[in-house]
Point group: C2
Chain length 231, copies 2
Amino acid sequence: MNIAILGTGSVGQALAKKLLEKGHNLYIGTRDVENTMKQTESDAFGNSPISFWIKENPAVELLRFKEAVEKGEDLIVFSMNGQYALSCLASVGTDLLHDKILMDISNPLDFSNGFPPSLFINNTDSLGEQIQKAYPNLKVVKTLNTMSNPIMVNPKALKGDHTVFMSGNDDEAKVKVASVLQSFGWEAHNIFDLGDISTARGTEMMLPIWLRLFGKLETPFYNFHVNTLQA
Amino acid sequence: MNIAILGTGSVGQALAKKLLEKGHNLYIGTRDVENTMKQTESDAFGNSPISFWIKENPAVELLRFKEAVEKGEDLIVFSMNGQYALSCLASVGTDLLHDKILMDISNPLDFSNGFPPSLFINNTDSLGEQIQKAYPNLKVVKTLNTMSNPIMVNPKALKGDHTVFMSGNDDEAKVKVASVLQSFGWEAHNIFDLGDISTARGTEMMLPIWLRLFGKLETPFYNFHVNTLQA
């Protein structure tokens, strides 16, 4: 597939590396290509800048958001901080987003009061729903937003079953996203289709417990499993 | 132990039956004893009224909230809808709550716009914290609020591991609550102490995903497990 990845942070990089390994053509979107390629410093969490990886992988194109979506026509992966979702998509424009599938991995995290962050949308709305409402012809599938990026792209890093959720209004889009998840190693019985995009409220609101667990476990290697096995 | 259970609905009844089976003396608190004993109709979910069970178990005393706490001095179980938490505790009074342990199973569910309910407190606050703030000398331990009542009192109803969380400021109170959980069948390694009472934000905010799962699974027999097993 020709895939656009919007976001060059640790989540975007983890997804890019896995999707490249799976043989896809990648068009990575950023706000300012020159500026992104100039960055040589790791981020606050020790993640190296994407410029290094792009230089090592010349087949991968780093482009402005709009151009990335123009070329990555089969799937858009949104992997930025949720606060940039609507401005990023606005710079792509309604016409280009028409009928496309957006795999939305973002969360509405508000770091303005430090760590752990709160949510800037929640309870009676979600970021997934706001994106869907802003672009009614975009097929938004919220997924992977309830775990760390090493688990997203390598579910077998944990022994036993654990769950990835999907929320979205379009069943065909969810089938396509599920096939991408399966290519990462997710077993079909661990991919849980919660229903329409309003169910993204549920998964986005898992971030507070995820963050508290991170504080206690001090490792990103954990995930939630919905245990349904009756004794 | 002498245990006060505040709340006569399905959660209170499930806890009462299990705690009676374990040999505790139970003092069940309600707003209006006469009115509660007069009820003979099942609730909207088909749960029978507590009056039947009280008549069958004359050793269990049904009392007003304050009297129940006076007699159930070793542990208070709060099992009402969260919207009644502060008014119920106000009727008990600060003096009686001094130094007591409150096992808080409630959630801040707002059913005013139908099903699924939203939360009337969340994100930067929690019901657990509001109770703790209102009664600084009460030892609030939020637990069991992320699952259905059949699972709370019978974790072995599910095969394999699944998690019960605890949030609270007082370590001794958490040890006591953990021992009650263990008496229900919870294995120590599945009891997850998240930390202080502010971590109740995390567990209360799991209700939206719990409710969506309930809509999909159509059974109360499931629970979350934090899978930490690295491959």
